[in-house]
């Protein structure tokens, strides 16, 4: 057991606590995102929304969670039991894994240690997110196939083809951004945007942002891209056979995905934890970190709101429209965006 001694225990503990905080936070935010979703939907439809559990219905997510826990757990007879359970677990796992590389804030000085508010600053942060997102579709596919139900299978097929199609445009739109930043590390990208005289990346890549945002919506399976769920065509899609907390995991994973993709969009295009009009270098490190975290979460919440706003405004795409938009629209636009960006960079060199 000698090798255990070589680990920096304080570092280990620090990361462990950070992971626990981030995961708890994502779960709580996902929980309250369901509440926000229902409230926003209600307000946009001139209704009030859940308001019975606690003041303003604030305990509604707890009640919903409780209900899901106490529901009867049904595993269809002709399904593959192992894969049936693995589906929602994978969906949740891939949703949670993404938050490892997102810089939640600047360094914090605690107990004489300088703790960066990022679980892992790896130099290929964006690619890591990309890899995990591309794995997210396995949860849907495996769950849909293991249910042994034709609607679930159809939904799984739709989900897979949708994610693969939109991943391409997403990647190409990112390339244009990466040519500007010259780095794949999310931390570096944020720090570049915080420099004086440098605007947020949205100012340089408005088209890239638009493409990325649409693709993020498609990857999250959010309306108007919720074809794998499509309540009125596939009666719930890939999670039709699921009940109890396994269904809850699928629904939860969607909200966590939304939270994480909002965080990624903010990090890449909206300055991450950069509070506008505030010079962070003048503040004490802890103060700066606090301001940064608040700014970061405020921006994330705005994006979550926009996600919901779009969902409750636009109708669902038809399948051929979805494919046309992805392959004939977004990929071409992203390629053009990439070429133009490259040309401008060359010209200015």
């Amino acid at each position: 057991m000698m090798f255990l001694l070589t680990i920096d225990w304080a570092f280990f503990l620090e990361k462990l606590i950070l992971i626990a905080i981030v995961i708890t936070l994502s779960l709580v935010i996902a929980m309250y995102a369901t509440y926000a979703e229902r409230k926003i939907a209600a307000f946009m439809q001139d209704r009030i929304g859940p308001n019975r559990a606690g003041p303003f219905g604030i305990l509604q997510p707890l009640a919903d969670g409780m209900k899901l826990f106490f529901k009867e757990e049904i595993i269809p007879n002709h399904s593959n039991r192992f894969l049936f359970i693995m589906g929602p677990a994978l969906a949740m796992l891939t949703a949670m894994m993404t938050c490892a590389v997102i810089p939640w804030g600047n360094k914090v000085e605690l107990f004489g240690r300088s703790i960066p508010l990022q679980i892992a600053d790896i130099n290929i942060g964006i690619l890591y997110i990309f890899a995990v997102v591309s794995l997210g579709v396995y949860g849907i596919m495996i769950g849909g196939w293991a249910s042994n139900n034709k609607f679930s299978l159809l939904a799984a097929m739709r989900g897979a083809s949708q994610v693969i199609s939109y991943e391409l445009a997403m990647g190409i739109s990112l390339i244009a951004l990466l040519m500007l930043t010259g780095s794949l590390s999310l931390k570096t990208i944020v720090e570049q945007q915080m420099q004086a005289g440098h605007f947020w990346n949205i100012a340089y890549q408005p088209l890239g942002f638009l493409i990325f945002f649409i693709c993020a919506m498609a990857e999250c399976n959010r309306a108007p891209f919720d074809l794998p769920e499509a309540e009125n065509e596939l009666n719930m899609g890939y999670h039709q056979e699921y009940s109890s907390m396994k269904l809850g995991f699928y629904l939860f994973a969607e909200y966590i995905n939304m939270f994480i993709s909002s965080a990624v969009i903010v990090t890449l295009f909206f300055g991450g934890y950069d509070m506008p009009f505030v010079n962070e270098t003048l503040l004490t490190p802890n103060m700066a970190a606090l301001v940064g975290v608040i700014a970061f979460f405020a921006k994330i919440f705005i994006f979550i709101f926009i996600f919901m706003w779009i969902r409750w405004t636009l109708p669902r795409f038809r399948y051929d429209q979805l494919m046309n938009l992805g392959w004939k629209g977004l990929i071409l636009l992203a390629l053009a965006n990439m070429l133009i960006t490259a040309a401008i960079i060359l010209y200015r060199m």
Partner: protein, 178 residues
């Protein structure tokens, strides 16, 4: 041909121009509409705490009335059952015993009086047919239930509270159907 209403709108079938084809302006327009709706007044009524105002002629659940001394007014003449177009009312008459004079106003009374609320169409013809002012349609809505048999309301469910023994309940029941 002249249009019947002013709400007729010609459908624009011209091919879309480039600006319309990228859909973004239309999407933004739609989003402003939904956003504006967030600040509109909500028509929701918080039901059990607040109730909507019912007009005085609203016809809800039936009540069987009593007179001032708390005696049942119904004399089981059967006119309401005859008038009922849905055949929701059944009753059985009985003769009043001498020691029951404080319970029933007339010499004949309804021993059994049932209204099937699933058949009832709340037309109010029973109320009009009653010569003794015994049946009224109140302003309460019939509550939901799980079983069909619970919708057959017996005399116990229908009778108004006794004004002598329970003046408060009586006033409340009366107040609703004013």
């Amino acid at each position: 041909m002249e249009a019947l209403t002013k709400n007729v709108m010609e459908v624009d079938r011209r091919p879309m121009n480039f600006w319309e084809k990228i859909y973004l302006p239309a999407i933004l327009k739609g989003m402003t509409i939904t956003f504006r709706h967030m600040f509109k007044k909500k028509p929701t009524v918080q039901y059990p705490e607040k109730t909507r105002y019912f007009s005085p002629v609203f016809r809800g659940m039936h009540i069987l009335n009593r007179d001032e001394e708390g005696r049942e007014r119904c004399t089981a003449c059967g006119l309401c059952a005859v008038a009922c177009p849905a055949e929701a009312i059944t009753m059985e008459a009985a003769e009043r015993k001498p020691d029951e004079a404080h319970l029933y106003r007339e010499e004949k009374y309804a021993a059994r009086y049932e209204i099937n609320m699933l058949r009832c169409i709340f037309c109010g013809l029973c109320e009009e047919a009653c010569p003794k002012d015994a049946i009224y349609l109140s302003q309460t809505v019939t509550p939901a239930d799980y079983a069909r048999k619970n919708f057959i309301y017996t005399k116990n469910d229908l009778l108004i509270p006794d004004p002598v023994k329970d003046p408060e309940g009586f006033a409340k029941a009366k107040g609703i159907h004013q």
